[in-house]
């Protein structure tokens, strides 16, 4: 099967912070990533969408230098991630999917430890904890943290070196809606400061709301990469749901929106009786994903 990544926004500036070029990786004989290419500009948030086993985490692991690509190259901030690993790591912030924290250490101790690994002696640990809503619990040991608190600490840890590239694997996993909103705010702030952000998520709504662009990944390949809006316009189906009262009864009709013929159908549908409600419905990213890849995200 030949897959071509679709891009409908050709006017974009060339991405520079992250450049992934025709990258391949296999686990033994099982290919996990097959020729992925994409780029992320400074200040841009790229959402990586795909089901489990699609190749998202493997791509992330190559991006952060944990796995070495078998073919192709990855450049972060102009440095090759394999040959110039240290130059990349010092400007990278990573939030892992697993809650890989030390239960016997406090939030403050975590941030100080990771700051020292980045060569930083003075870090505003309290300020950082405040940004993720952990100001009052920073001195407590992680063993006493809830799942959401651990996730917030992981975000704070990823920000400890004020990174130019932020890699987030399921950043709002396990968070309540308020905490998730806080975290999204923090991610946006970092992007506004010029950081290139790449995040994986299963949450379509989050990807849609947070990402400047999204990449659909499946079976080790990128099927499409573009802004959520463009993807939905190009590949999704829109519709209008009309509810009319006729002879005392409510009738509902869904009109697929596909141009002038749809306008005529809407006019016809609303010409007789009392209009109760009209709703336009946009395609969801999930629907677009299914449309393009033939499978769901979960």
């Amino acid at each position: 099967m030949t897959v071509t990544a679709v891009s409908t926004t050709s006017q974009r500036k060339p991405a520079e912070a992250i450049v992934v070029d025709d990258v391949h990786f296999s686990y033994g004989k099982r290919p996990a990533v097959r020729g992925i290419s994409f780029a992320v500009a400074p200040g841009e948030i790229l959402g990586f969408l795909g089901p489990n086993g699609a190749g998202k985490s493997t791509t992330i692991k190559m991006l952060i230098g944990q796995y070495r690509p078998e073919r192709g190259s990855i450049r972060v901030l102009g440095h090759d991630v394999v040959r110039e690993r240290e130059a990349v790591q010092s400007r990278l912030g990573v939030c892992f999917e697993e809650k890989n924290l030390y239960p016997t250490m406090s939030g403050v101790e975590h941030l100080r430890f990771f700051a020292r690994l980045h060569g930083l002696r003075e870090v505003d640990v309290d300020g950082l904890l405040g940004r993720v809503g952990l100001a009052t619990r920073g001195r407590d040991r992680v063993a006493g943290y809830s799942k959401g608190m651990r996730q917030r600490l992981m975000i704070a840890r990823a920000l400890v070196n004020d990174p130019d590239v932020l890699v987030l694997d399921e950043p709002s996993d396990g968070l309540d809606p308020v905490s998730a909103q806080t975290i999204r705010g923090v991610i946006r702030e970092q992007a506004e400061k010029g950081a290139a952000v790449i995040l994986t998520t299963h949450d379509m709504w989050e990807a849609d709301a947070l990402s400047d662009r999204v990449a659909f990944i499946n079976d080790g390949r990128i099927y499409a990469i573009d802004t959520p809006e463009s993807l939905k316009l190009a590949h999704g189906k829109r519709s209008v749901r009309v509810r009319m009262r006729r002879n005392g009864e409510i009738e509902e009709r869904v009109i697929e929106w596909s141009g002038e013929s749809s306008a005529a159908a809407l006019a016809e549908a609303t010409s007789d009786g009392e209009l109760v409600t009209v709703h336009t419905e946009e395609a969801t990213l999930e629907a677009v994903f299914i449309e393009m890849t033939g499978r769901g995200l979960s």
């Binding site: 990573v94 892992f96 890989n100 020292r116 980045h118 930083l120």
Partner: protein, 372 residues
């Protein structure tokens, strides 16, 4: 915010500090460490610090045994028991331990030549063969020689020229003459090694947890490399094991007259068990599997320590165990006051094993970390 690029040394120290913080909050380790120390110290002090030096002397021919029974040896504290033999070879075998008599081993044997009594009665020069067990000290050997002369004096009524030529004195087994050691001294290397092993298991558990929970992945996503993690773990393990063993040695007064030799042996032992920790920690999935794998490695390494408790039980294959060199150097330095020159072989063996195991442990852990 970009800090100054951290040096390899500072990264290693940072990881070590974190490991020590974690260990200082590990309840199991906090309880186990002093418990093992106290246990080792208690065992040491409960064991006897003196040696029973009652001697069983075999005499050939058996007809002369009765003449020796009334003999008082020069050292009044040394008891004497005499057993007669009708065969010189049987006497030698009894001294070696093969033909052990009821009531205990024969520690020395005197083989008198045919016509011995006639020769001393006529003041003719004569020779006596002496078989000496390996653990008979020189002062007792001297007493034996004196005893033979005194017996000749008693029988002849005047001094007679009995010669015990150096060539005739046969030492059977490994010569430990002058190196009589009490059980307490013999148990010291075992106690030290036991403490080293306890510390190594704590580190192995820490490594397994770090790899299993993938916290190590977060470390290597910073400028720290896999090698920094491996070196830090190895050094932390060595530091912990060495410091505990040092405390034990000080309490047990085990530094002896060769403290540098003893400390070097303990340092090598600490490195050795730290290397095993890297292996066990990398292979283990949780505390129990790590413990199992660690014990699988460490039990065979305890065998040479037990062999020290039972001299003569050391088989050739024990010398091929990784811990043999360390324990030989430790025992030689702490108990017999041997120097680096005397123990060069033991140190060379210990060094080779330590370097080899450390390299293997480091590689296995590095591979596991990289794949986490």
């Amino acid at each position: 915010m970009t800090g100054s690029r951290p040096s390899r040394a500072s990264l290693v120290v940072t990881i070590m500090r974190k490991d020590l913080i974690e260990l200082s909050r590990d309840t199991v380790w906090l309880v186990l460490t002093p418990l093992v120390l106290v246990f080792a110290i208690l065992i040491f002090w409960l064991l006897p610090d003196s040696v029973d030096e009652t001697l069983t002397i075999g005499v050939y021919p058996a007809s002369l045994a009765a003449s020796l029974e009334g003999l008082a040896l020069a050292d009044g504290e040394v008891g004497l028991r005499v057993i007669g033999f009708d065969d010189e070879e049987a006497l030698a075998a009894a001294v070696l331990g093969d033909g052990e008599r009821a009531g205990g081993a024969v520690t020395a044997g005197l083989a008198f030549p045919t016509g011995f009594l006639l020769r001393i009665m006529t003041s003719q020069p004569t020779e006596v063969r002496v078989f000496v067990n390996a653990d008979v000290p020189p002062e007792v050997r001297g007493a034996l020689e004196g005893g033979v002369r005194e017996m000749a004096f008693m029988l002849a009524g005047a001094p007679v020229p009995v010669t015990l030529l150096p060539d005739d004195e046969m030492v059977l087994g490994v010569d430990r003459a002058g190196a009589q050691v009490s059980l307490r001294e013999q148990v010291r290397p075992l106690a030290v090694f036991f403490v080293l092993i306890t510390e190594s298991l704590a580190l192995a558990s820490l490594i397994a947890t770090e790899v299993g929970s993938r916290t190590v992945a977060a470390i290597i996503a910073t400028p720290a490399r896999v090698a920094d993690v491996v070196i830090a773990k190895g050094l932390t393990g060595t530091l912990l094991a060495f410091s505990q063993a040092l405390v034990l040695l000080v309490v047990l007064q085990g530094l002896g007259t060769q403290p540098l030799v003893v400390l070097s042996a303990v340092l090598l032992g600490s490195l050795l068990v730290a290397a095993v920790s890297l292996l066990a920690g990398a292979a283990g999935r949780d505390f129990m599997t790590t413990l199992f794998i660690g014990v699988l490695f460490l039990i065979p390494m305890m065998i040479p320590a037990f062999a020290l408790l039972f001299p003569g039980s050391a088989s050739w294959w024990m010398q091929s165990l990784p811990s043999f060199g360390v324990l030989q150097a430790l025992h030689g330095g702490a108990t017999f006051g041997l120097g680096f020159g005397d123990l060069s072989g033991a140190f060379a063996s210990a060094l080779a094993w330590t370097a080899g195991l450390f390299a293997i442990g480091g590689l296995v852990l590095a591979r596991r970390v990289a794949r986490s």
